[in-house]
Subunit: 166 residues, 2 copies
DNA sequence: GACAGTCTACTCGGATAGACAGTGTCCGAGTGAGTACGG
DNA sequence: CCGTACTCACTCGGACACTGTCTATCCGAGTAGACTGTC
């Protein structure tokens, strides 16, 4: 009952990329340093997002990462699922079919009531994340800015020269 | 992003106990055999449910397990939480406060927008499980019985003499 | 000054160790039913 | 026949190994900018 720590990283990283101007790309190393994360493991999380088609990568000296789709078309669920290996919380091993008192398999056409409720909870969890897009998050962040962070970010990006592709 | 396998065991075990007449108790070994589970690890899950006050245990030769509360007062959420070590899915390490561009801690009074959405999804997941009681499950199971299972269970219980406390 | 060739610094990607929680198993303390014995 | 003390089989509870996943790190293939030398 615990998501990978990389989920928080991936969400914040995608939000940061979504705030960049279109066409700009940022190396994973810079993105990790910006968030205060160790770059080694962080890059592995980015690889999964690239494989899922959420962000795109450019190799080479002036390579970097950028969003592969508009922020409106990326939901939080897509990011979380891309980063997690196991896709569902509850796993039903059809325990009801085992044991000395089980009936013939033919009689288990309808899903188990327990599994039904668990999967319903699972679906509700996903619904919340699926109905929130990265653009929604960007808008919320712009509405309630943290004082000073925006300017500090611009200065830091200019100072380190991390932005590529413009 | 995966719950322990013991969750399915615990839920089915509690449902089985809730179907027993009041005052009856069943040894963990019999309960495991009835579900086709290895008894060793299953008993460990039962220990957690006992510690959480959901079921009660009686030691000794004719000992066994029984529900500690009426089935109406036990929600699925209580069972799942009792069996899981980590209580929340998403863990926010306040990554926004780290890195070279973070502001002073004083400015982070409001929770992070990302964490807010994730915790909302978490709350929705719990809401579904909290609003379903063991009694609801028992009623649903009684409404759609699997042919033959009920009689086989009664016979098996009588044959093995696993029921105690009556 | 402009251009071609080379070099080098920097990027992503995957392959490789280590840490931790979940899994699986075992044995000991405790208890009450069953039994043997005495009244 | 009834009461009592004993034995013992059976239970839960916790202590002890094992396994798979998550975490953390490193190095190689590949690219584009930077530099040098020539025309
Ligand atoms: S059989 Fe898997 S939850 Fe009921
Ligand atoms: S700081 Fe933890 S989710 Fe934003």
């Amino acid at each position: 009952m615990q998501l990978s720590e990389t989920v928080e990283w991936g969400l914040h990283a995608c939000l940061a990329l979504a705030m960049m101007p279109k066409g700009a790309r940022l190396p994973a190393r810079a993105l990790a340093e910006y968030h205060g994360i160790k770059p080694s493991y962080f890059s592995k999380a980015m690889q999964k997002l690239v494989a899922a088609g959420i962000i795109q990568s450019v190799e080479g000296r002036s390579g970097g990462l950028a969003m592969a789709k508009p922020a409106e078309d990326v939901s939080l669920l897509q990011i979380v699922v891309a980063l997690e290996d196991h896709k569902t919380f509850f796993r039903c091993t059809e325990i009801r079919r085992k044991g000395p008192c089980a009936a013939a398999p033919k009689h288990y056409r309808t899903p188990c009531n327990i599994a039904r409720v668990m999967h319903k909870a699972d679906a509700e969890w996903r619904r919340v994340l699926a109905t929130t897009s990265l653009a929604d998050l960007r808008q919320s962040a712009a509405a309630e800015p943290i004082p000073g962070v925006d300017k500090a970010t611009q200065d830091w990006l200019a100072e380190t020269g991390a932005v590529r592709g413009l």
